[in-house]
């Protein structure tokens, strides 16, 4: 087991409950965190500021502390399923091979 602490830790914040009907301050905190829609996830470094923001909307979010920050593109890549197939033979390649042979 490694005893070295990673230098930066991140909060992984997912919005679970909407702020509709709540005071505008709460909605403002969510907007500041970058959570504009339900079930969106954002990563923020672990700091006192962010911790305070989370505390303000603690009933609406799910929070985890992680080592790695993922960007939107990376999360989308993880979500994307594999194609489920691969191309065994391409017609163009075949024709090229035949041309090369001749």
């Amino acid at each position: 087991m490694s005893l070295t602490t990673p230098s930066v830790r991140f909060f992984r914040i997912t919005l679970l409950r909407s702020a509709i009907g709540l005071p505008k301050r709460t909605a403002g905190v969510l907007a500041a965190l970058g959570l504009h829609k339900r079930l969106r996830t954002v990563y923020h470094p672990v700091t006192q500021d962010v911790a305070g923001q989370i505390f303000a909307v603690k009933e609406l979010v799910d929070v985890q502390e992680v080592d790695q920050k993922l960007s939107d593109g990376q999360m989308r890549e993880l979500r994307r399923p594999g194609p489920g197939f691969w191309v065994e033979k391409r017609v163009g390649q075949q024709a090229q091979e035949e041309v090369e042979r001749t």
Binding site: M1, S2, T5, R12, T14, L16, R17, L39, T41, K58, E59, L60, V61, D62, V63, Q64, E65, V66, D67, Q68, L70, G73, Q74, M75, E77, L78, R79, P81, G82, P83, G84, F85, W86, V87, E88, K89, R90, V91, G92
Partner: protein, 304 residues
């Protein structure tokens, strides 16, 4: 940027219990705060996990129809490290061939019943293209609900993601999805009230620190990814071992729908905007659905 290799390795891990970020999500998140700590699983849940993980050493079960099915398991889906190519549709390079010369053994049930399944005349397969299932058999013409841009007519596709292969009397199924594990923030330890008279004694155990869990990795015991990504796991399906079958399809060509006109306008506005749509769809013909023999699989035969 996560490379395709890492992504495939993460998503198609051979671990008995896959990393948590693969697992179904919605019910596991909560806004109730709990003691933080990655990797703590309540004792009842931990027992369940270990039980299931022991059963799920493999990913598949051959059941005989018209009888009480005994769920048995086959090997998990082979981990594939695909080379980072355009849309990942080139031939995948299997690390199993690189590292271990003897391929992972098949389970007892598969070894016993696969020949029976193979001996039956016609087979069907539920192949998944972009995670969408298609129930197909040899000779079928499939019109996909999308257009494959890089597929020319005459190209041969090898479909490698399948959940079911069956014949009249037998079905080979992929293993059930791994059990729902909760995220670190939702797990708690049970504390039983001693005054109720229960003989069990549970104490509130502080969860292991997240650092320890992270360094432990996705070990079978803790069954937590370094990083739980719940919604990534939503709807993930477990697939059959690719070595068990061969499924080939030929790209026949492209079809397109009749031209559709959509008029867009607002009330009391005379301007009408017209949007034209004519979607294209790729047509495949399934030219081969074959189940490989036990010797062929265990011999490590390539392709064919």
């Amino acid at each position: 940027m996560l490379s395709l290799n890492l992504k495939r390795a993460l998503l198609e891990s051979r671990l008995p219990v896959p990393p948590t970020f693969l697992l179904p999500w919605a019910a596991s998140l909560t806004t109730v705060s709990h003691t933080t700590g990655a990797g703590n699983v309540p004792p009842p849940l931990l027992n369940t996990v270990q039980q299931v993980s022991a059963e799920e050493q493999a990913a598949g079960s051959v059941t005989r129809k018209a009888q009480t099915p005994k769920p048995k398991r086959v090997d998990p889906t082979t981990t594939l490290a695909r080379s980072a190519t355009v849309a990942g549709t080139e031939r995948p390079t299997t690390p199993s061939t690189l590292f271990s010369s003897p391929v992972a053994p098949l389970s007892e049930s598969v070894r016993d019943l696969l020949p029976l399944l193979q001996a039956q005349g016609s087979h069907y397969i539920t192949a998944h293209i972009h995670d969408r299932p298609y129930l197909i058999t040899q000779g079928d013409t499939v019109r996909l609900p999308f257009f494959m841009k890089d597929a020319e007519p005459g190209d041969v596709l090898r479909l490698n993601k399948a959940t079911n292969i069956g014949s009249r009397d037998y079905t080979l199924k992929a293993s059930a999805p791994a059990p729902k594990l909760k995220s670190a923030t939702t797990t708690t330890r049970m504390v039983l009230d001693p005054t109720t008279g229960s003989l069990e004694s549970h104490s509130r155990v502080m969860p292991a620190t997240s650092l320890d869990s992270n360094t432990a990795g996705a070990s079978a015991a803790m069954a937590v990814a370094p990083h739980f990504i719940p919604h990534i796991a939503k709807g993930k399906v477990s697939y059959l071992d690719e070595r068990l079958f061969v499924c080939r399809a030929v790209v026949m060509g492209m079809e397109s729908e009749p031209m559709r006109m959509k008029e867009k306008t607002k009330r009391r506005n005379r301007k009408i905007k017209t949007v034209r749509s004519k979607h294209r769809y790729t047509v495949l013909k399934i030219k081969e659905v074959r189940i490989r023999g036990v010797e062929e699989i265990e011999g490590g035969g390539e392709l064919a």
